[in-house]
Symmetry: C2
Subunit: 328 residues, 2 copies
């Protein structure tokens, strides 16, 4: 059993790689680069996903990171954006715009179906965990996709313009505000779903995906008891740096790290995960940070950490698995 | 002020005709056959619409008759079906089908926007009357479109297969069940919105559109106090027969009238409206029923009661207005 902690696009890419590489590591031969060829009856992988970005718009509950992971694992994610459904249309959103509704969050017609069904199920009293399992099954997604919590948590971004809801900062205002602080409203009363507890306990390897350490992995680690459970798990923990050559692979992680006083490098990320992970995977362009990371008590794998298509994701995932299994 | 009582497609067509003809009757010259040319700031027409067909699917509140009237008056109704939005796509519904949701009610992507916004507003505590006004304004619809009630009413169709929810009977089972009875659950506690009361009180003419007299006009008349208010109004009342040559212009009105023991003709319809309307508009093919309808104490206009496009709708509406104003 492999457990991945993931946010949106970057996390979803590595999660897909881990799915394709399988839980047994790269020593097995894999021809399963086509998601459709993966046997959905074998959930070798559990992906624990950030839900602190979740929000409501036009009365619908949106779970951006869960959907990005689901769509990516289902092989239907938009390859240009990394989020949304490939080839989606925007007729509903255009009509909502005609009605004067907010349209800054670009919801496609197929994507709307996900939000409509999720909202319906939530109103029926089902948990986000159960709903996500239903969606995953319908999309033929083999790995378990697990929300970090079934409770409501909302990332608040503190900026010179005031406190912003995460999607307001991230999508509507295009991450242009200086981030002075981040907090997760509701986190103190958020519980860890039983499926997450079980997955962590039975894991052979736990991978922190190359997602934003502050607002994607951060909320997962901030759920009360999560860090303790991760530390208590027998499995080695390895993190893949989302910072390569001083830049975030996607999103505002670089600027966010800088404005919050962290070094914008794999070393800065490693410091945030100190005491939790035993290994860091960093890109070759950052090989000069190897020594400093090792001084934190971590082992380091230097490789190509930038992922392209599914085969590239599988390649990195297989290296991460091999590296992870050498950690104690 | 002209008031029309309407159900879905047939009612919406005549309502559009009344909008285009204007409230002053056919004695004025009209070049306003293009809905876009109608000044939306002059609400000369109020359309009171059946809401007993309303239902919920995938967690969204659908108001089929209100939407058909709105889309028709906005000039965006699908000309082939009479309902839905012209040129709409079905990506959301297809995706919902992939998730295993019900797809027998064919909701288009643009149409979904209406239901999403309506559902959001209802959950915010707004009335259906206020929401409908918001949608109408956004679509540039000049006439007031008024739900018959803001309360929940649900048509139940009694059949040999049991009691069916209206859309179950109408859409999912294609109106193939024999109708043994019809009742409107919740009607006893339904109130008449203030806007409907005011429209009826200030009307110069009240038109019962060629909608199903049992399940479209029937629920409107069944709202407690509605018939009394219509009778008390100074305005003459005129009905347009939805039955032409022994057939319903659209839908199951003919079979429904027959199985409930009514004559399937304008005479059968006139008997249902006896004591309420002073005039019936019937098609030339039914001219032989004129005498029997007049014996009910009504005056009769024989004309072409079948409507084609907007110009034809305007033509019939103008005749109805002229005829109505001759009634006392």
């Amino acid at each position: 059993m492999l457990v991945a902690l993931a946010g949106g696009v970057g996390g979803a890419k590595l999660a897909q790689g881990l799915m394709l590489a399988g839980a047994e590591g790269s020593s097995t031969e894999y021809s399963r680069t086509d998601p459709a060829q993966v046997d959905p009856s074998v959930p070798e992988l559990s992906v624990v996903v950030n839900t602190a970005d979740d929000f409501e718009i036009v009365g619908l509950r949106i779970s951006p990171d869960l959907d990005t992971v689901l769509y990516t694992l289902a092989g239907i994610a938009n390859p240009e954006t990394g989020w949304g459904v490939a080839g989606d249309s925007f007729a509903s959103l255009d009509m909502l715009g005609r009605y004067g509704a907010d349209t800054w969050f670009r919801l496609g017609d197929r994507d709307f179906a996900t939000h409509i069904l999720r909202t319906q199920r939530l109103r029926e009293g089902r948990t986000l965990t159960a709903i996500t399992a239903e969606l995953a099954a319908a999309l033929g997604v083999g790995p378990r996709v697990l929300p970090m919590t079934d409770d409501s948590v909302a990332t608040v971004v503190e900026t010179p313009a005031g406190n912003l809801a995460f999607q307001d900062y991230f999508v509507r205002r295009h991450q242009t505000d200086e981030v002075r602080g981040v907090r997760f409203a509701g986190i103190e009363s958020a519980g860890i779903p039983a499926g997450v507890v079980a997955a962590i306990r039975s894991a052979d390897l736990i991978v922190l995906c190359p997602s934003n350490p502050i607002v994607s992995i951060g909320p997962i680690l901030a759920v009360p008891g999560m860090v303790e459970r991760l530390r208590a798990a027998a499995a080695p923990k390895v993190a893949v740096s989302p910072i390569v050559g001083g830049r975030a692979l996607k999103g505002p992680a670089d600027r966010m790290l800088a404005s919050l006083g962290h070094e914008v490098s794999p070393l800065g990320v490693a410091r945030l995960y100190r005491g939790l992970v035993q290994g860091m995977v960093i890109d070759m362009v950052d090989a000069d940070r190897r020594g400093a990371i090792e001084e934190l008590g971590m082992r380091v794998l230097v490789t190509t950490a930038v992922m392209g298509g599914p085969e590239d994701r599988r390649r990195l995932a297989a290296e991460v698995i091999d590296f992870g299994h050498t950690l104690t």
